[in-house]
Symmetry: D2
Subunit: 288 residues, 4 copies
């Protein structure tokens, strides 16, 4: 895929002509709109938009574009963010003992499908260090010592800053983050929950699914929120099961769903396709 | 599909050689086993089995077969039931105001896909009588009068007896049945819940799904239990949605899932493919 | 769903600022854009667009809007069509002996999900007249007499004109239409093929699927083209099968896929969501 | 999953009482049947069966069991094979330049989900050696020199013998194997075709899919046959696409389908769940 795009995400109160005004503004600046997606929430009267521009049309600097559009946006009352497809987001993976999501994200990135940097892997257990080594990625292990969660998290948050991280992916990190941590990283932590939310919240969802005798099991990727498993959902999927599956069997087939749900969510975030609105997500063209 | 089969459903404590004993017994009686499905729950050590025999191998009467197998089953400690594929189950449909599941079941049966009799449709609202008329099926309307639920249910239960009903299908019947009703019809009432259980129990699941911002919506067919939406699940399915769907939009696409989930569950029951075990179902070869 | 929308479909050569120009034009005319979807084919440099406007913003007559936009479109070199959501398309259903698609479309329309008129059903066999009667829709039977295909088709085409039909749906019409017929109705005939095109073209796709031992079977809804089963594909779906399915079993489960694939395609057409481009379709927001 | 099982695969002409005879024989030998799956092809009158026995019931040696069952099977005219779940099949992966299937299989095996040995990776290109190194697996590169296919294949076949390989997996090996090679390895070579067979055979299926404008793309895992892409299908799956996908976009999303389709097929083979019959496969309980 061509890497020379500018992506603009916009959210505002709905207003007449907003689409014409925004597209005309960029046209006036000499930009060709490659792709435009827009959504209006008719209940809350909110307008959402994603624009893809051709970076080759850019005359001035990125700062100049940000300033110019910023003042236009201010007049129109738009919340916005601007993203350049040649920038590689810096992603930190946090894991515990389960390797399937870690392997999946690392190999997708190695294949060039995620287009991000993964400068470090953080864990509360030493178990998966060998995978970090396979992919030559620094591995930091901060075991959780009862009663010292704050110190442990402090070290992690420190590291994330030091490595200039843009996005944290909890790839089966089996440890609840503190409210402080989550608030500091609002909208920049993606978690994979190995169940179909809002069903099966909390621990051991596969056992819950088995006990309830469901015929489908699923996984949910969502932004972390201080309220456990209540954050904005980005992506979900399911797989069909039957009476022959034990809880362990569900866990095994569930891995496949977790893998692809998390990967799709991370990719959507990295391609600047997501706008978070209250407890929902607008995900533009995840399929594309 | 050939209609000349005998289906035997068996459940027992797991025991060595049970499979050999049962199949040998029928072989000894001159029966050819057309199809045999079996499942052992290794946790609870329970054995489940479904046998399809060729009715042409039958020498004696149905009573004789029941007696003969009955005494063998007693020795072996088997719970069992016998079903003849040339018998058409008598199914009562209960509806309120929503027509899509009613239309779907009636047209499937008209096409010969369900292979059952539908001698009556019962409703607590007059709205859908015209559909009953289209298919020339008696329609009984018993409006629910506040404080007179017992009388209303009495009339319905009366009717079900009088029409010699085998199975009651709640095809979007928006009225909770009393515990007495459900206990009397234990394992013979199939309900379609327009949500992916155990998520979105109770009223207005589509609004709940919208509020939670899920990316898939589903439907669940289950046997009615006194504990609302907690009965044994027979079948579930989902459809992908996104931020563009209003609660009304979810409701509209949800209809398709409800239709096929309910139809599959009813068909599995009518083909004697289901064994209920505690709060679970063993559904043999629903796909077949 | 609100019925007061104007839908404009646009196709043109790709050009800078086209999006801004079109949206600004409508803004200038006092229209609020409710929804805008756009697609650029970067290979063939073609631009496609679908606009939803609020009909309440309309001041003049429909003819005036058509004229005004027409001259603007001419300057810009746009191919376009205008659709009003309060107009009910007139749909003719053509069937033979299989009833599941017919039942499905009639019941969906009866439930108000298709929002169209179905003034007649045409068949080459008398078998399904009783269904037409159930829904009180005129049924016309023109048996195919060997060597008299032209007369038979002439009668059908006559009828379609007389009934002022907008769309013809071949709901399992087992008779190949002549090239003349198809050319006259270019882009206005939707056919359901009971196989996953381009696999299993021609007759008896389920037998073909069985012989090949596939693990999924599908259905394809497409616009009819003189080249059999080669027309632009609108929608496809599949269902999982296994070795236990006979060709008859495949046929039975296939019905469900045919039903929903055809219904989705017809709905997309009726909601003016489809632009045909060469042998492809751009289907805007079918899911919505 | 418990690893102490004996799996017996049986195929024979259909005959009365075959199920009773086989299960009774094992019961007589003191074996408890953990799981029994059986299928009768009513057209060709062929009987297929898969038995899982508890290895703890085994008194004699594996040779003794083979001999004893062998003579029983001879009397009954059964084709059969016996498999011990504590044996790790030795799998050779053959690749070219595409890494996603290779990464997927290696990481699944590293996670213990495939339960096989992968003693070597063979390629006709050097590109993926670094992945072999990551997983510390010997990598053999035999470039294809025009006109010297025979020598190249001779080296590969040599290696496979030397490494005592049970199964060859073509994980996107972009080179057609000779008829000799395939015949020598009949039923022991699994190939992933990046298209939904029988559609899109041969080269560049994603371009073919794009040109045809399909709405779903798929992948097919099958046993290699001398007739290209005509071998017995083991597993297939699809993913939904739309007009926005370029051929490159289809290729990218297609990777996910290829990954899981190939993994499921390999796992089914390794768990002795597959019987090949003519150009079809009976796959017992792939989902389990």
């Amino acid at each position: 895929m061509d890497n020379k795009k500018i992506v603009i995400l916009i959210q505002s109160a709905d207003q007449r002509g907003i689409l014409a005004k925004v597209t005309s503004w960029f046209y006036g600046q000499g930009f060709n709109v490659l792709h435009c997606q827009q959504h209006t929430d008719d209940y809350e009267h909110v307008f959402f938009m994603r624009l893809e521009l051709d970076m080759n049309d850019m005359k001035g600097s990125r700062k100049e574009l940000a300033d110019a559009f910023g003042s236009f946006a201010k007049e129109q009352g738009l919340n916005w963010s601007i993203h350049y497809s040649d920038y590689r987001s810096r992603v930190a993976l946090m894991v515990s003992k389960t390797s399937h999501c870690l392997y999946d994200l690392l190999s997708r990135n190695a294949e060039g499908d995620l287009r991000c940097e993964i400068p470090l892997i953080v864990s509360n257990h030493p178990d998966l260090e060998y995978i970090a080594n396979q992919f030559r990625i620094p591995f930091y292990c901060f075991p959780m010592v009862k009663g010292h969660k704050e110190e442990q998290e402090a070290k992690v948050r420190d590291l994330l800053k030091r490595f200039d991280i843009d996005l944290v992916v909890l790839a089966r990190y089996m440890q609840i983050l503190s409210e402080d941590f989550i608030n500091e990283w609002q909208g920049r932590i993606i978690n994979i929950h190995h169940g179909f939310l809002p069903a099966f919240q909390g621990a051991n969802p596969y056992q819950q699914a088995y006990d309830r005798g469901v015929k489908l099991i699923g996984a949910t990727a969502h932004y972390a929120s201080s309220d456990l498993d209540q954050g904005p959902i980005i992506e979900q999927d399911v797989v069909r099961v039957n009476h022959e599956f034990t809880a362990a069997g569900l866990r095994e087939v569930g891995k496949d769903v977790e893998r692809r749900v998390l990967a799709r969510a991370v990719q959507a975030h990295l391609e600047s396709r997501i706008i978070i609105w209250k407890n929902r997500t607008i995900v533009f063209g995840l399929e594309r």
